[in-house]
């Protein structure tokens, strides 16, 4: 690969002697060789630069738009990531394309380098041309300032970047961040997709890698998506879809902060109802009470979290129903066809069954306390007539 890179740059020499080449191409090829003079030599460079006329160089400078390199490099960054993430046959395609992006930035550096050499031979540019040159160099500087901090994106290309780095003359190596920056940080890639592991010797000794790992840590323990103010409002108004409700229930089952908010909604409803009742008995507020009181069925409690019933099992003799209302969960074992049922719910093996209460709907097991302490499943035994049910269930 190194030989390939050397051959590629050596071949650039042919551009210098080609007759009808544009000034920009000659400058890039000349700069490529000048910046790698130690390894490649500078044969033919001076002659080529002397052959470039001032009008051609000035026209070329006027047309330069280094900011166009920004999307090229950003795309190269994404492609470099795909080299690390794809891992399949396409990885080499991504790699070649990403390296072409880096090469584009490098050619701009070569052109700038050769332009300085050209000025040394022909005399400095002046007037509008000098201003164009300064703008060109400033734009390259701005581009580098904004993209250099993102050099980590190119780490998956490190084997090729190191080869390129080594071909450059030492004075050029540090300037070429697209090849040099983070060129030794290969170990960092494994931390992007894996769980945190013990640091490798490189990471232990590399302040940049350690900082990256520390700063990216929130992704390893992502924050929860808490219920928003709007979520709570829509929930309270009964405007959530069943999917949203399901997700919300799953979240509040694990998130104390949001569960507290949902609990507070219920307490707030009770408070509204109490406030309205208090006003009803208060003569000084009679007028407003008269106009504000609504039928009991329309009071706030009517908008509470509707009871959600899920039939877990239905047999000829009995039915098992999981009932959820806000943070309350209970399991109902309902006898059918006048049967008598016995049932037991075990939260863990060897522990006694939860104590049921008997009501008009059958046997009820309150799972709210168990749920609030983190229990998520239980074992159920039901006997009715000749039927026996043994099953686990989640709540």
């Amino acid at each position: 690969m190194k030989t390939d890179a050397m051959s590629r740059y050596a071949a650039r020499r042919s551009v210098l002697t080609a007759g009808s080449t544009s000034p920009g191409v000659v400058l890039e090829a000349a700069g490529d060789l000048l910046r790698r003079a130690t390894r490649l030599g500078t044969e033919g460079v001076e002659a080529a630069l002397r052959g470039l006329g001032r009008p051609g160089v000035e026209t070329w400078l006027q047309a330069q738009k280094p900011q166009a390199l920004q999307p090229v490099l950003l795309r190269a960054a994404e492609e470099a990531m795909e080299v690390a993430l794809d891992g399949g046959d396409e990885a080499e395609v991504w790699r070649a394309s990403a390296l072409e992006g880096l090469a584009a930035r490098d050619r701009a550096a070569s052109a700038a380098f050769a332009l300085a050499a050209w000025e040394a031979l022909h005399g400095s540019l002046d007037g509008e041309a000098a201003r164009n040159r300064d703008r060109y160099l400033e734009s390259l500087g701005s581009l580098d300032s904004s993209l250099r901090p993102r050099a980590r994106w190119f780490i998956p290309l490190n084997p090729q970047r190191r080869q390129e780095f080594e071909l450059l003359d030492s004075a050029e190596q540090d300037k070429a961040w697209w090849f040099a920056s983070r060129a030794g940080c290969d170990d960092l890639v494994a931390t992007w997709t894996g769980a945190p592991q013990s640091p490798t010797p490189h990471i232990q000794g590399c302040a940049e890698c350690r900082a990256d790992i520390a700063d990216a840590a929130p992704v390893d323990a992502p924050p929860r998506r808490h219920l928003t103010q709007d979520d709570l409002w829509r929930f309270d108004m009964g405007m959530m879809s069943s999917d949203e409700r399901e997700r919300m229930d799953a979240h509040t089952a694990r998130c104390g902060e949001c569960a507290q908010a949902v609990l507070a909604l219920g307490e707030g409803d009770d408070a509204i109802e109490e406030a309205l009742e208090m006003e009803e008995g208060d003569g000084t507020m009679a007028r407003s009470a008269r106009s504000s009181r609504e039928p009991v069925s329309q009071r706030p409690s009517a908008a509470r979290h509707p009871e959600h019933r899920e039939i877990l099992e239905e047999r000829r003799e009995f039915r098992v129903v999981l009932v959820r209302e806000r943070q309350r969960v209970k399991l109902l074992v309902q006898p059918l066809a006048g049967r008598t049922v016995t049932a037991a719910v075990f939260l863990s093996p060897g522990r006694p069954s939860l104590k049921p209460t008997s009501g008009p709907e059958g046997l009820a097991f309150d799972l709210s306390t168990a749920s609030s302490t983190g229990a998520r499943s239980a074992h159920l035994t039901v006997q009715a007539g000749g039927e026996t049910l043994e099953r686990d269930f989640a709540f």
Binding site: M81, A84, L85, P149, R150, R152, W153, T191, W192, T193, D212, D215, A216, P218, V219, D220, P222, P223, R224, R225, Q229, L232, W233, D236, M237, G238, M239, R247, A250, H251, R254, E257, Q260, A261, L263, A264, L265, E267, G268, D269, A271, I272, E274, A275, L276, M278, E279, M285, R287, S288, S291, S292, R293, E294, S297, Q298, R299, P300, A302, A303
Partner: protein, 223 residues
């Protein structure tokens, strides 16, 4: 003159004046004055639910609820009344609902700050230097955590924009606490292997987006 009107009549007057651009201060003031006492009762119950709060909070929350009722509540009330009769009942009940939500939101947002030692001004005057520095440090850490969370969500927003499939898998797996690739695969209608891949890719992109954002943020630049 507004004292003689019922709540519903006053509310209708507010809505009418608002639609025609007339001043609404008179009827609205009378209305919310009538609702002041039940609103404060509701606030006190939410304060009790969160185990914190002060009369000063109560004033602020009441004013905030009036503002919200005015900003969005009037239209929302009309919409909800039409779409879901019974949900909002009367304007008063609807207002009390807004009060409830404003209070809950307030105590959720100020959870950490309010967990700090006494909010009594007299006590605050007597804070020792070490208590003050602890409070400052706590405030700084809270701010940093908030910044970090904000950057994380910004990174996730970028992931949603640039790699929506990976973002959906990440959302399900981590934000919605599914944490099971078989379940993720089922819900996304993809293979389990793809679920692993998407979550893994999301993790890598999120890390790099987050690092980019941190280096671009003012705090990152300071560092």
């Amino acid at each position: 003159m507004f004292e003689q009107l019922t709540d519903d009549e006053l509310f209708a007057e507010v809505v009418r004046r608002r639609a025609t651009g007339e001043p609404i201060g008179g009827p609205l003031g009378t209305l919310v004055q009538r609702w002041n006492r039940p609103a404060r009762y509701v606030i006190s119950k939410i304060q009790a639910s969160y185990g914190r709060g002060s009369p000063a909070d109560s004033d602020e929350l009441f004013q905030d609820a009036v503002g919200k009722f005015l900003d969005r509540g009037l239209d929302q009330f009309r919409g909800i009344s039409q779409q879901m009769p019974g949900r909002s009942a009367s304007p008063k009940t609807f207002f009390l609902r807004i009060v409830k939500h404003v209070a809950i939101d307030f105590y959720r947002r100020h959870r950490e700050e309010l967990a700090a030692p006494s909010s009594d001004p007299d006590d605050a005057m007597e804070e020792s230097p070490s208590e003050r520095s602890r409070a400052v440090e706590m405030g700084r850490r809270t701010e940093e955590r908030a910044d970090a969370q904000e950057l994380y969500w910004a990174a996730f927003a970028r992931l949603q924009q640039e790699h929506p499939k990976e973002a959906s898998a990440w959302e399900l797996y981590h934000h919605e606490d599914v944490e099971d690739h078989e379940e993720c695969a089922r819900r996304l209608n993809i293979t389990v292997v793809n679920s692993y891949k998407r979550v893994s890719r999301a993790q890598a992109y999120l890390k790099l987006y987050l690092l980019d954002l941190q280096r671009e943020s003012p705090r990152g630049e300071e560092a």
